[in-house]
């Protein structure tokens, strides 16, 4: 009896689950079809794994889309999880190209057993410091920014804002943005342990958009109307708003170079992909997705 009952129950549960799955499948079906149709043809052994920085990922993704339109037999998979991840994947042999929003560290270079890594400078990105749109603060100096992120300033009041605790958003330690910010803004000092670690640029935007007292840093291309980008000044010089013009002209202080790495000289598909990226068309795409091209 009992057995039959549990059986019946399980069946009922399974039926419900299947029903729900169907409903969800109905919603997401189209995209999946699209994805599989673009991945279908692969006679030519064109399979390229591009892994690394979430900042560089939009560029690589846009390149990959154009590239696969040109060469429909090729298949390029772009995964954005963090610069450290990409470099580790390159060392471990699970990626063909690593994307990084910082230069490769000496210790990382040492870990390549065989051929040494080769570096490609693909564009420049500006870093934008963001707060909630309702926050009265409009600008910060780099020194103030450092004090916030090292935990010396913990209340907006100290900066002339509301009397509220600052919620500090940082990135995961695998992020190149995390490393760049630490080197450039914190001058090598440690982040405050109170800093919350977000897994991606968009996660920072989302969190800051929801919390009035939050502060975070993101790649400029991720800046949208839900958050406010702060103007920055360095060494008491004039305030500069974050934008492409100010970043390209070198006025905006928080800019860093973006790279791709391969093991040894790239061959075959990797070579073709990088050549496309650094061509005029590829660099035009860099501009279009919101970065500053490496080659004018």
């Amino acid at each position: 009896m009992g057995f039959r009952k549990t059986c019946l129950r399980k069946l009922l549960a399974a039926a419900l689950l299947v029903g729900v799955l169907f409903m969800m499948g109905g919603c997401g079906g189209n995209e999946e079809e699209k994805a599989s149709s673009s991945n279908e043809e692969k006679e030519y052994s064109g399979n390229l794994q591009v892994n690394g920085s979430t900042t560089v990922a939009p560029i690589a993704q846009a390149w990959a889309e154009e590239f696969m339109k040109k060469y429909p037999e090729s298949k390029i998979v772009v995964t954005g999880t963090g610069s450290g991840d990409g470099i580790a994947a390159l060392i471990n042999g699970t990626a063909d190209i690593a994307m990084a929003s910082r230069e490769m560290k000496e210790e990382e270079k040492k870990q390549f057993k065989g051929e040494k890594p080769k570096e490609f400078f693909i564009g420049t990105d500006a870093l934008s410091v963001i707060v909630h749109p309702k926050n009265p603060i409009k600008s910060l100096t780099l020194e103030q920014l450092k004090d916030i992120y090292t935990g010396k300033i913990t209340n907006w009041k100290e900066l002339g804002g509301n009397d509220a605790e600052i919620i500090v958003y940082s990135r995961d330690s695998s992020s190149g943005t995390y490393e760049f910010f630490k080197e450039f803004v914190l001058e090598g000092e440690e982040y405050t342990p109170d800093a919350r670690r977000a897994p991606s640029n968009s996660a920072v935007v989302q969190s800051v958009a929801q919390e009035e007292n939050a502060i975070g840093y993101i790649g400029l291309s991720f800046l949208n109307e839900n958050v406010k980008g702060l103007a920055l000044s360095i060494n008491g010089k004039e305030l500069v708003e974050p934008s492409f013009e100010t970043a390209a002209s070198g006025k905006y202080p928080l800019v860093r170079k973006l790279y791709m790495y391969t093991v040894g000289d790239p061959e075959g598909l990797a070579k073709a992909f990088l050549e496309f990226g650094l061509s005029k068309d590829g660099q035009e795409i860099v501009k279009k997705v919101g970065y500053i091209p490496a080659v004018e």
Binding site: R9, L16, E179
Partner: protein, 308 residues
Amino acid sequence: MGTKEVIITVESIKPKFFEKLIQNILKLTAGTTILVLFLIFFFLLKEGYGIFSYVSLRDFILGTQWLPETTPPKFGALPLIKGSLYVTVGATLIAVPIGISVAVFLAEAAPPMLREVLKAVIELLAGIPSVVYGFLGLTILAPFIKELFNLSSALCAFTASIVLALMSLPTIVSISEDVLTTVPKEYREASLALGATKWETTLKIVIPAARTGLIAAAMLGIGRAIGETMAVLMVAGNAVMLPHSFFDPVRTITANIAAEMGETVHGGLHYQALFGLGIVLFVITFIINFLTNILAADKLGMKRGRYL
């Protein structure tokens, strides 16, 4: 059991051979399970022991700074261990009383039809992927809690506890209900015959009789909570700091392993440190299981609890 019937229907030699075969297959399966467990533990130790020549076990467990990217890197796992404990204890405090109450209602008070429907729905809850729980926690629960407690950020141990409690409820309810229904009918009848009310019978006879099974159910729920990764990663706030209250952001052991594993190089120091964390987690769950066994080892437990 039932051998006799088999002998009548099948020729006399076959059943013995057949039974032996089945027996051996079952032995092999059971043996494999144990072997796999040992292999997992062996692998964890092999990959993780190296870290303890870099930091002492004491500094690893009691150190308060987890900075894998600085030079020299620091591996103090206390913030992560405490984070895991905060979230798990919170989830337990919420899920166990609710879960057992629901199970008591289902087993003792609910009309049969309602019970079937509710059990099916609760078991369905167990089938929802954890990332979906995390997503709902992030977009629906967190803003609500932020309003309710007037917090500047709702991504904290408390929110994570609620999400985890929701996730471990199906386990607790489902097992508790099974345990309660196995309490012999005679117990209830005897109690009712002596003039006890239904409520008194439930509270003083049925629940004590099922005690060990209920403890096992709670422990399995806790096990589910402490091992959960994805949902916690999304709602716990992810600050690697020593939490002082339930409204502080925390990072759990599992979330930290998941977030940092990708950036490690096989065999590197950071990689070993993450496996070291795996060992710590393994030991914690081992202790929980061990306690369950002790708590469930009285006479009734021998009858029922150990089958769970």
